[in-house]
């Protein structure tokens, strides 16, 4: 029975992917891509990967979909003809076959699951995924938040010189009594609670800084699109402080560990003292969430623009 479900799910995923790849218009492709992302997050649920399902739905389908649709809205309808299909088709088919063969040829499970589950409680997070992200592989996570920052700096650098210093994205014109404004008033409180809950719950249950940050980013975007609050200018010191607060606290904690290591045997760069690991992880995650939320919202809004 569950096999039948998985087969149907996979067929739907593949179908949506094919539609997204070959749809006649780019708008249709983008919509199919969002549908595809939702189906893929269902597949993650089938694999008991709740953290990944949340991240895929929020970022892979949601934010990436918005990015594509927003860009489409700025584009004139243009003739869209792909190149010759034979070589790409051979490359795609060859790679898919090779990977399929490899999956079947893989040895029996070779993962780190048991090792992680043994070490996770000592690292300050009962959710093993959070333990991996913020303790064992904290260096990855730190670099990843910096990747977000690098992308935003790159996006902002693409503004025209005349628009530099304006708020991110296009200026919004919204009727104050319109539906969007009303919607924008109802949802943010709920969204904020959900976002913070995802972070708080993330140490022991699925959720975490990235999933919570995405929800908060959506709230920020909604508030801005509904015209309820003006986004700060890209040169604003306060905005920039919020953007870097997470990585800064993360790096700062790492540095403190490094300096302490000079006279304290257990301390090291990126090591959290075991007694306080849980509260420190939660603190770092909250700061990261704030920065991730604002960075993601700014990434989706795009570079500052002065014309429609």
């Amino acid at each position: 029975m569950t096999l039948a479900f998985d087969l149907v799910l996979c067929a739907m995923i593949v179908g949506a992917a094919i539609c997204a790849a070959v749809a006649g218009t780019i708008f249709a492709a983008a919509v199919f891509f969002i549908v595809y992302g939702i189906f893929v997050s269902l597949a993650w649920l089938r694999l008991d990967a709740f953290d990944v399902a949340l991240a895929e739905a929020a970022m892979g389908a949601g934010l990436t979909g918005i990015l594509l649709l927003r860009a489409l809205g700025r584009m004139p309808a243009s003739e869209d003809r792909p190149g010759p299909a034979l070589a790409p088709a051979l490359a795609g088919a060859g790679l898919a076959l090779a990977l399929g063969w490899a999956f079947l040829a893989l040895p029996e499970s070779a993962g780190l699951g048991p090792v992680v589950r043994n070490a996770a409680p000592g690292a300050g997070a009962e959710n093993p995924v959070t333990a991996v992200l913020l303790a064992f592989r904290a260096w990855d996570t730190l670099l990843e938040t910096i990747v977000l920052l690098a992308a935003l700096l790159g996006v902002w650098a693409l503004s025209r010189d005349e628009a530099w210093g304006l708020p991110p994205g296009l200026p919004q014109r919204v009727r104050p009594d319109g539906v969007l404004a009303g919607f924008g008033r109802i949802l943010p409180p709920i969204g904020a609670v959900v976002g913070v809950y995802l972070v708080w719950a993330g140490t022991s249950r699925p959720g975490g800084a990235f999933q919570g940050g995405t929800v908060l980013a959506a709230v920020a975007l909604l508030v801005s699109m509904a015209g309820l609050a003006q986004a700060p200018r890209v040169t604003s010191g306060a905005l920039r402080l919020v953007l870097v607060a997470g990585p800064l606290v993360f790096l700062g904690m790492a540095f403190i560990g490094a300096v302490l290591s000079l006279w304290q045997p257990g301390a090291a760069f990126l090591a959290l003292p075991e007694a306080h690991a849980k509260s420190l992880i939660l603190g770092i995650e909250l700061m990261l969430t704030l920065s991730i939320a604002v960075t993601l919202a700014a990434l989706v809004a795009g570079p500052p623009e002065d014309r429609a």
């Binding site: 997204a20 990944v52 927003r70 999956f103 992200l133």
Partner: protein, 98 residues
């Protein structure tokens, strides 16, 4: 068995994405294809990690990192495509213009 289905599905998605990435010329479609390949790789990795019965949390963490990185790259790519459109009124690379 169920896990194998999802792993093979991931392999197929990579193939579909690679096909679209190489075949399509419109730059937004190539960004989209990049994301299809990415999620296919993640599904492949996640399914491989779930073969032992209990799910392996390390791939989950890697995948979350990967999703964030893919989103960052997509955002920069989309912004580049729009800036390129403003600068030269083109939605594809010069060498791909018909």
């Amino acid at each position: 068995m169920n896990v194998t289905v999802l792993g093979l599905c991931g392999a197929l998605l990579v193939g579909i994405g690679v096909f679209a990435f190489l075949w399509q010329r419109h730059l937004l479609r190539r960004v989209l294809a990049f994301n299809v390949i990415g999620s296919g790789i993640f599904l492949y990795l996640g399914a491989a990690g779930a073969r032992g019965g209990a799910a392996d949390p390390v791939p989950h963490a890697l995948i979350i990192t990967g999703i964030v990185v893919a989103l960052s790259a997509s955002a920069l790519a989309v912004a580049l495509v729009l800036a390129h459109l403003h600068a030269s009124s083109a939605t594809r690379l010069p060498e791909d213009e018909p």
